[in-house]
Subunit: 475 residues, 2 copies
């Protein structure tokens, strides 16, 4: 049992960063104690804002010595409670927000070296300033920070062509729970020298150490970019169209998002400026994004060819190609507002799942049947990254139903949806991670040996058990 | 100290696989005891050829119980002695050659599931049979096997566009040193559920467990493919041309190989059928490979445009574009024979290093100066994957020098070349791994905390210390 740190211990933590950067004020602390959607609320006696790697190191060393739990936090945009302190008031929050310096940028080597506290948008801007781009693209990019992106192996809409955060990172600097600093800030594309510690820290949600800096990959800006929006009859046709697009475009296919009719209705109804771009309603929609490096014309030609072939094959009922950058943005805005558009429709039970791409139609059909059998009238608004097999399987309450009563079925729905996902060889957390939300479920579904290996790694890296306890693994 | 296993213990190991698959005959064993280049020779009392995951499991469980060291082996093509048993005759060789079944192939999901004993070429053929391709391309692909490719995180010539083996693998099946089987054969592109055990096993060179099966990614076959060979003045110009090619081609740039004049001379002199494709000699050469998904014409147009721009910018002195598939293969054959072409020139001291791409010219100039100062007349034949920052820094002996005396300078040369590599933030093993060859050097150059974390992981996974002891980490 961890106890609340004494005021003497708190004072000594505060002295490491200086009083100005040690927050105990309840009002200032309040937003740090609650998860984005309000699913988790915690308590904490102290928020520390170190300004250097050395200060992070001193904090963790003292935490290991005193057995004080530390919760790392960057943009506080996570969706599984990984960044939220536990309720007991024992956990000190360590915020990396002051460590937001871009250390180096090299457009020839296509590399940027950044503090973990940099905001994702600032990385985009820095890359843009040297005619490069950093592909990670998330709804929260104005506030999420690189450290959290790495800790959760963030995904988003550009994964199809560029990969997750894991694929976008070459090197890390990590402060270990003991306070030791691992300088793994390598800038190498190829380096086969020993165990892959980098990928062990990426996605470990702050339970093995605190990422303080990273070497990230940059890419040439595509010259051509085109977006289309196609109305389809079924998820089977969407899969066939995706396969056609993959074959035709190869790595130029930079997005293939699936949306249901109800999602388009919700956005048209609730999101200012959004309207259905097609004349007739369709059961399903695909947003197709193509980026080409050689010329702007290629993207356009490729998109037209794809849609022509889609029509000929009877896969596409109707489609529109963006005629301007503003229209391209408008189509993406519709897709990105799909989660927000559900809020005015009442309670929403959410799942972030993946299945093998080829099994998406089977998953969608089976899950909808099971959900409607359990809650007649529930409105399934399942959308997402078809090309990655990643569906945000959201369920809006029946019209007129009681919100609280509906949300009380969260675990029932999880059991139904995750059960189907697992039977298809899928994942219960495609991109959001485990945190607190899926911790016990993970332990229940994974083979014992896998949890055992994770526990052994945790113990080997964090013998005092101070790093973000209760997240990913049970305490 | 490990002792040679008793004949009773050997019999019990043999009983697990059956006598037909337990080899003790010296002649049959001999080729398994020596590394490819003859750098390492070992001894072993027994070679086991299990036919199933269960048999591998039974072997490792009994090995852990009896403290018997196990050396996993697949194609025996590794270059750092990782697959060679130690000299003491204590180590049992476990060969995966009988486990060579393709378990599943799914061209819609772009996935192949294979036993670890499958030969790389057989994976290529299986992919081809469903109109897909598996990009890993190595000189040894006719004999190397998937298990070894994964254990060493193999690279090769297609890394620029498709990544190392790590990027080509979605899931693994691993038998742990205790005999427990971890089924991590996931087929998912996105799965953020706990620590990344997969990437920990990949590249761990058989020291944490034995990979018995894998889910690998397939890709659509490119429709267009073009290869050019360009004569250049300097490595600085080669770097500028690479940057130009990256900007123009984006992900369609599937190869950018650097070669020195002496390498072209060696291949023209010693490799049957190879001739210098350009009329005049040039100090440096680039082999450029472009693959496009939309049409064959695009690759051709892109290549012509790149070379035109290269001429205009004064980067390219002369160039030839392949006019047929046979010519494309001939250009690649020259590049791939560069290592073999050095053999008739006497002793060769080799390095497999990487530096940040932007520092290749600096590395090449500094290293050549230092090498020639140490061994006047030495002939530096440094070539490789410029686009990955990975150079095979090979040094042929001075003409007429004594081969043995030259090779006795191996460690001197390592110190010089690796010293420069490290001063530039590079890696002493870009793609071949650590094995026995670079084990002590790794420990000498890496921060203590990094080696300590690796030892803790090793101990957590292999408490009895039976898995490929003495490789990567000291016993």
């Amino acid at each position: 049992m961890t106890t609340v740190p004494s005021s003497d211990i708190l004072d000594r933590f505060a002295a490491i960063v200086g009083d100005r950067n040690a927050v105990r004020d309840a009002a200032e602390m309040a937003p740090r104690l609650v998860e984005n959607r309000g699913l988790y609320r915690g308590a904490s006696p102290l928020l520390l804002k170190p300004g250097s790697v050395e200060e992070v190191s001193a904090i963790l060393q003292f935490a290991s010595e005193t057995g004080t739990p530390i919760v790392p936090q960057t943009g506080n945009t996570g969706l599984v409670g990984g960044q939220t302190p536990r309720a007991g008031g024992t956990d000190i929050i360590l915020s990396l927000e002051r460590m937001n310096r871009i250390r180096d940028i090299d457009p020839v080597a296509n590399i940027i070296v950044a503090d973990a506290g940099c905001i994702l948008d600032d990385i985009h801007k820095a890359a843009d300033s040297v005619e490069r781009m950093f592909p990670l693209s998330l709804g929260s990019q104005g506030s999420c920070r690189i450290g959290g992106n790495l800790a959760t192996n963030a995904g988003g809409t550009a994964v199809l062509a560029y990969g997750n955060m894991r694929q976008l990172c070459l090197g890390l600097e990590v402060v270990l729970p003991t306070g030791e600093i691992w300088n793994g800030l390598r800038r190498l594309k190829k380096d086969n020298t020993g165990y892959d510690l980098r990928d062990l820290f990426i996605g470990s949600e702050g339970t093995l150490g605190i990422i303080t800096g990273a070497v990230l990959k940059l890419f040439p800006k595509p010259l051509g970019h085109q977006v289309a929006f196609a109305g389809l009859t079924s998820t089977e046709d969407a899969l066939k169209l995706f396969e056609m697009a993959s074959n035709l475009c190869g790595t130029a296919l930079t997005g293939f998002e699936l949306m249901p009719r109800i999602g388009v209705e919700f956005t048209a109804r609730h999101i200012p400026g959004v309207r259905d771009p097609l004349e007739q309603p369709h059961d399903w929609y695909a947003l197709i994004d193509i980026s080409t490096s050689d010329s702007a014309e290629t993207a356009d030609t490729m998109m037209q060819l794809l849609l022509e072939r889609g029509f000929e094959a009877g896969l596409v009922e109707d489609a529109v190609i963006a005629a301007s950058e503003a229209q391209r943005q408008a189509l993406w805005h519709m897709r990105e507002s799909m989660s927000d558009a559900q809020k005015p429709e009442g309670g929403s039970i959410k799942h972030d799942v993946s299945v093998p791409v080829s099994r998406i139609p089977e998953f969608m059909a089976t899950a909808e049947k099971a959900v409607l059998a359990a809650i007649p009238g529930a409105r399934v608004c399942a959308f997402g990254h078809l090309g990655d097999g990643n569906i945000h399987y959201n369920i809006s309450q029946p019209v007129g139903a009681d919100k609280a009563q509906f949300l009380a079925r969260w675990r029932d729905m999880n059991e139904i949806v995750h059960g189907i996902v697992l039977s298809l060889g899928g994942s219960i957390s495609a991109e959001h991670g485990i945190g607190q939300l899926k911790r016990d479920e993970l332990a229940a579904i994974r083979p014992g040996i896998e949890m055992e290996l994770m526990r052994r790694i945790k113990h080997a890296f964090d013998p005092a058990g101070i790093m973000n306890p209760g997240k990913v693994l049970a305490e």
